[in-house]
Amino acid sequence: MSKTILVNTFAPPPNAHGENGPEYVGNLRKGELRGIIKINESNCVGCDTCRKVCPVHAISGGLGVIHSIREDACVACGQCLVACPFNAIEQMSFVDEVMKKLDDPNTLVVSHPSPAVRVSVGEEFGAKAGELITEQFVNALEKAGFVCYDVNQTADQTIIEEGMEFVKKIQYWVLGHRGPEVAEAAEHPFPHFTSCCPAWVKNCETYHAGLLPHLSTAKSPVQMGGPIAKTWAAKYVWNKDPRDIYMVATTPCTAKIFEASRPEMNDAWKHLVKTGAIPADTPSFPDIDAVVTAREIAEIFRRKGINPLEMPKTRERGTMEIYTGAGTIFGNSGGVMEAALRTAYFVLSGEELKDPDIKIVRGHTDAIVEATIPVPIKELGGKIFEVRVCVVNGALQGLDTVLRRIEEDKNRYHFIEVMNCPGGCVNGGGQPVRTDSAAWLNPTLPIPMQI
């Protein structure tokens, strides 16, 4: 039987946000978390595995040398952490803070679980890999004291925003529309890149700054959830003071920890102050208050004595838990693309796709997927427009090749999805680490027999 491995964590040290330093240090701004992923020097044996899986070559070291991570370069994706055979890489954790908030009766603690968590968290309790336990998981969240606001729903919101953004780009650049509705598209030419993956966003900001105008301005689903929860849901669903809402993103991802600390991610506070919903002197609060990984939500369940696999398998989905198939496939490589195409097809052609499964764009385990999707354009009388799309399945595996192809031919693609982790979020740096997957030397040396 395969087991999951307990990954070591540490609480954020003083000055983790750079709060005592200058406006920026290196390429990190004040407020942004640093040192989210750390190599424990006393556990590192210098096996060099981590250096080979890093998508941005942020790890220094060699065979037999204690490795270290360069903070400015690191995108906090955690691929080194899940790949480390010696469990020597540790992650910054906010579990203690969340546990404290759960005990506070005045605070509405909202768990914001990503798609890929519902197929992985069961593994921590002995379920088979990939077992889908949405209902049991949400029931367990509720028992632990959380209110659930599903990221799958904000993924749908992302598709509405990013899909419409993409449609506007087609209207401006292909159909020749002009006017205030499409004015913004003029500054954002094709190819359109997705912006859901925070590791890819930081990678792009650091190494490919010239591509920033091509990046979708839509926030990632998790970051859309923060402002929606603290404005719309606070008023219309929960009837709660937004200052008493504590958003806990529950993700398969460690880069989300960095993303949540970005100083501009406080749009809920800005809006509430501007509209006078909260006093103008309220200190700024972030949209997402804490991020816990799939491993850590399992840790919270264990501390509370909850086993999600023993929870009831049925559940009536509330307003904040309703989601569509397009939202749930965000966790797979190619999923954002497929979901966006479903909605873009509907808007451009005026009719639903007959077969919604656009299997041709699914990443599975291929590093790069290229496809052409014919879309009949309604306003051109059903004339077919071919949308050329590309899916990068793992930044290390496919990104350089695709970026080189764009340099050679700027018109090659309209829409490019980039997922930092091979396979998509299901293989994220915050997912349970298993003895039968990457951590193949641990805990039985030298030949892994524990399978």
Partner: protein, 114 residues
């Protein structure tokens, strides 16, 4: 008449023909088994990824059965725009749901510190 005398070379004295076969055989076997185990495990690593992907596609099918296939069919998402009196990518939705990016490599340069 000189008599032929067979003497093993220095290295052969250390490791005879049979010994040599034994050592190479065992080494080859050890490398083979470990190599197989490693390749097999790397293979299994993608099995875990594939299993989780299958789980999400199963979830997609379950949603499709309830006529929740595309994002614009999500009633809660559409209610947000109605309640907040806004349109996708416009006005309030743009303020709350869109962001901007920073050319990090140039942060130091842009701020005038070199």
């Amino acid at each position: 008449m000189r008599k032929y005398e067979y003497t093993e070379r220095q290295t052969m004295a250390m490791l005879g023909r049979r010994g040599f076969l034994k050592v190479t055989g065992v080494t080859a076997l050890a490398i083979g088994i470990t190599g197989y185990a490693v390749v097999d495990l790397l293979q299994r690593r993608t099995d875990v990824i594939k299993a989780r992907q299958r789980g999400l596609y199963k979830d997609d099918k379950l949603c499709q059965e309830q006529n929740l296939t595309n994002s614009h069919q999500n009633p809660s998402v559409m209610r947000f725009y109605a309640d907040m009196h806004t349109e996708p990518v416009e006005g309030l939705a743009h303020d709350l749901l869109h962001t901007s990016y920073y050319p990090r490599s140039q942060l130091a340069i842009l701020r005038g510190e070199h």
